[in-house]
């Protein structure tokens, strides 16, 4: 590795702009400037010091702020495009079936939809290239922070008190002039600066006053927060850290909680309440008038059961953990799982009541109620009359080869094959009963089952969530905000004051931001100690403040 030797004899790594020892300009570019480039305090950023191997090249690629910004823009653009069409989790089927998903996008959005889906834009956060981009951003954050943070830290830690006059001359705030008693002036300046809570160090007739150095770490703290945030998001991919499932639970039903093995949930009743004119005061009356009714409560009363440790799926020895009423925004919480009220379906058929009647006389031989979720085989009506349920079709949708068919196991359109036995007809009569349809497949019957009443039940849509990554993500967010505050609301300010050989006093000042405040402080010191007048050397048309991080590379 080549190095640059400064006039003062200090060896600086290649790429150094300002001698790390005395502060003289080193690079030709730096020498040509009127003002010193104080980013990273003139230290060589790591990517500039060696560029030989493949690792160096990769490192240098990611250390470029320009590349980092490019990655951020790419992520932004991809995210924006991802909002044009609905993401897979919003389409019917939720994207569980790839072929079905592809068909959906093709059918609904044509060629554009096809390309959109093929590129993975339909499942943006799940597509490999988007995750690669976010990963590259993570690498960029780590590399940029190390590449710039470490040299800056070293440079500020080892900074020399008696910088060379050429360094002072090239600071934005600079003044020089003859004073009567340089030592007294220096002493008074130190006094005043101390009063302004500067940290004063003196050496060989030179003085360095410094405060708020920690503000310079703001961007790096900020990056650290982002990295922790990304790490938290990454954890979601690991098993056991993140669950997001949903399930339907009918009133009276007990089902395994999806995504939470060993937990079972019983629906003890769903409540859907509305505000009406009668039960509400002024507040909603206008809205109620306009839309008819306003929902006031969605509630599922549940009982949570848990099987003992090591119990097998399907075992029935679950024990009651607790009963709870899940309402919107008040989930049932257990072992890190949160079960939310998300959706509902009202009035699904749950039971049907029939009367066994003599067709001619209309005489009733009794009534029976069929529980549609768990029908019985035989219903004894007394007095020698009974009805057998031969078969049951919860969602009857026609015949196939003379066989009644059911489309789903949900009782949307129940149909029954009954065998009716009465004292009059001891050998039994067969009747096929569906809604608004009765068939007598084995010849004319003397009896019929007349529909009397139906009972319904509601279905609760529940969502099950578990997210162990939240604390990590919150921590990342908090650190990020600390970094923002640190870098934005605090500044690193320094003054250099030294005597020159000819009895003059040189004074220079620098701050990471907020030059007005720095000038105000220097004004006070100048007045108190009688320092030579200073000027703002910045040529306003030429240079503007370039914040740290915007590297040339």
């Amino acid at each position: 590795m080549s190095s640059i030797k400064c006039e003062c004899g200090h060896l600086n790594p290649e790429g150094t702009d300002i001698c790390q020892n005395c502060g003289r300009p080193l690079s030709t570019e730096e020498k040509s400037k009127k003002l010193a480039d104080m980013r990273y305090d003139g230290a060589a950023i790591r990517s500039k010091t060696h560029k030989r191997t493949v690792v160096d090249k990769i490192w240098n690629f990611f250390s470029s702020v320009r590349v980092g910004v490019g990655i951020i823009i790419a992520i932004l653009v991809a995210s924006a495009i991802g909002t044009i069409l609905p993401q897979v989790f919003y389409i019917p089927g939720g994207g569980a079936n790839e072929a079905q998903t592809a068909r959906y996008y093709e059918d609904n959005y044509g060629i554009f939809g096809q390309i959109y889906n093929a590129l993975g834009l339909s499942d943006l956060y799940g597509s490999w290239w988007f995750m690669t981009l976010v990963g590259m951003l993570g690498i960029s954050l780590v590399v940029v922070s190390l590449d710039r943070g470490i040299p800056l830290y070293k440079s500020l830690k080892n900074q020399r008190i008696d910088r060379h006059p050429s360094f002072l001359k090239r600071q934005r705030l600079y003044g020089e002039g003859q004073v009567d008693d340089p030592d007294a002036v220096m002493k008074k300046a130190a006094e005043k600066l101390k009063e302004q809570r500067y940290n004063i160090r003196e050496k060989n007739g030179a003085l360095l006053a410094e405060k708020g150095r920690w503000a310079r770490w703001g961007p790096y703290v900020n990056h650290l927060g982002l990295i922790i945030f990304l790490f938290g998001v990454m954890l979601r991919a690991l098993p056991g850290f993140y669950v997001d499932e949903s399930m339907w639970l009918r009133e009276g039903e007990t089902l395994a909680v999806k995504g939470a093995p060993g937990l079972y949930l019983e629906n003890k009743g769903f409540t859907f309440d509305v505000y009406t004119q009668e039960n509400t005061d002024e507040v909603f009356s206008e809205a109620i008038e306009r839309v008819g009714s306003v929902a006031s409560n969605y509630q599922t009363d549940v009982a949570l059961y848990e099987t003992p440790e090591g119990a097998l799926p399907g075992s029935t020895n679950a024990e009651l953990v607790k009963e709870y009423s899940i309402v919107v925004n008040k989930p049932l919480k257990h072992e890190g799982f949160h079960i939310f009220q998300m959706d509902f379906k009202l009035d699904e058929l749950s039971a049907m009541t029939f009367a066994l009647e003599n067709k001619e006389t209309g005489e009733s031989l009794g009534e029976m109620t069929v529980n549609l979720a768990n029908p019985e085989k035989e219903y004894d009506l007394g007095n020698g009359a009974k009805v057998e349920l031969l078969d049951y079709y919860p969602d009857f949708d026609g015949f196939e080869n003379g066989e009644p068919q059911t489309a789903t196991p949900i009782p949307n359109n129940p149909a029954f094959l009954f065998k009716m036995t009465t004292p009059e007809t001891p050998e039994g009569e067969t009747s096929f009963v569906a809604i608004r349809q009765t068939l007598e497949p084995l010849g004319e019957n003397t009896h019929k089952l007349a529909f009397q009443a139906a009972e319904t039940r509601d279905v609760s849509g529940l969502t099950i969530r578990k997210d162990k990554t939240i604390p990590v993500i919150v921590l990342g967010g908090v650190i990020f905000m600390i970094g923002v505050v640190q870098g934005s609301y605090f500044n690193h300010r320094r003054f250099w004051i030294r005597k020159s050989e000819n009895g003059q006093i040189l004074v220079a000042g620098h701050t990471s931001k907020n030059w007005v405040a720095l000038q105000r402080e220097l004004d006070a010191v100048t007045e108190y100690a009688g320092l030579p007048a200073y000027t703002d050397q910045r040529d306003k048309e030429e240079q503007s403040d370039i914040p740290e991080g915007d590297s040339k590379s």
Binding site: L11, M131, G135, A256, K258, P313, A373, N374
Partner: protein, 183 residues
């Protein structure tokens, strides 16, 4: 000269640190992407030990999967409303009788239907192999069964040999049963 050597050493050290940092980051990212992209909801994969469970059949007998260790299990998830299930079940019945004595069992898991419905289905098709009902969906969730029928071929060692998510033909059922016969 000494200083030069020192720098050379420092450079080497830095090189190692850089390589290590980049390698750790790259591994973390590649791992995350692979886990996410291959997260095809399949909780149970071919080669895994089939999750144990216990369910009760229509006669009231409890069947525990691990009790069949040493023999093959043709584990079929089905529903009475599912068309393909109706078609393949008679074939399963045929080969159940043929392979029962050769150490291949059929366990048909119905997804939370009523006893009556399952019983009438079994009667209609004359099914004699054990049919258990997963009343709470817990076994379905443990295997994350999506389409019906889904069949898991469980070998004598308790490992999943194959997962079939479509209707099987008569010939296929025979071949599958032979494939899990204890040797």
């Amino acid at each position: 000269m000494n200083k030069q050597q020192e720098r050379e050493q420092k450079r080497k050290r830095q090189q190692i640190i850089r390589t290590a940092i980049l390698a750790v980051l790259a591994i973390a990212i590649v791992y995350t992407i692979v886990v996410n992209v291959t997260k095809d909801e399949d909780i149970v994969k071919v080669g895994d030990t089939a999750p144990d469970f216990e369910l009760v059949d229509l006669e009231g007998n409890t069947h525990r999967l691990s009790d069949y260790r040493g023999e093959g299990v043709f584990l079929n998830f089905w529903g009475t409303w599912c068309g393909p299930c109706k078609k393949e079940m008679p074939h399963m019945e045929k080969y159940f009788n043929e392979f029962e004595d050769q150490g291949v069992n059929i366990l048909a898991v119905n997804i939370s239907e009523s006893d009556l419905k399952v019983q009438s289905f079994a009667n209609t098709y004359g099914l004699t192999f054990p049919i258990v009902i997963d009343k709470t969906n817990s076994v379905r969730d443990a295997y994350n069964v999506r389409p019906l029928p889904t069949t898991f071929l469980v070998g004598p060692d308790g490992k999943v040999k194959k997962i079939i998510e479509t209707e099987m033909s008569e010939q296929e059922i025979k071949t599958y049963m032979e494939s899990i016969m204890p040797s």
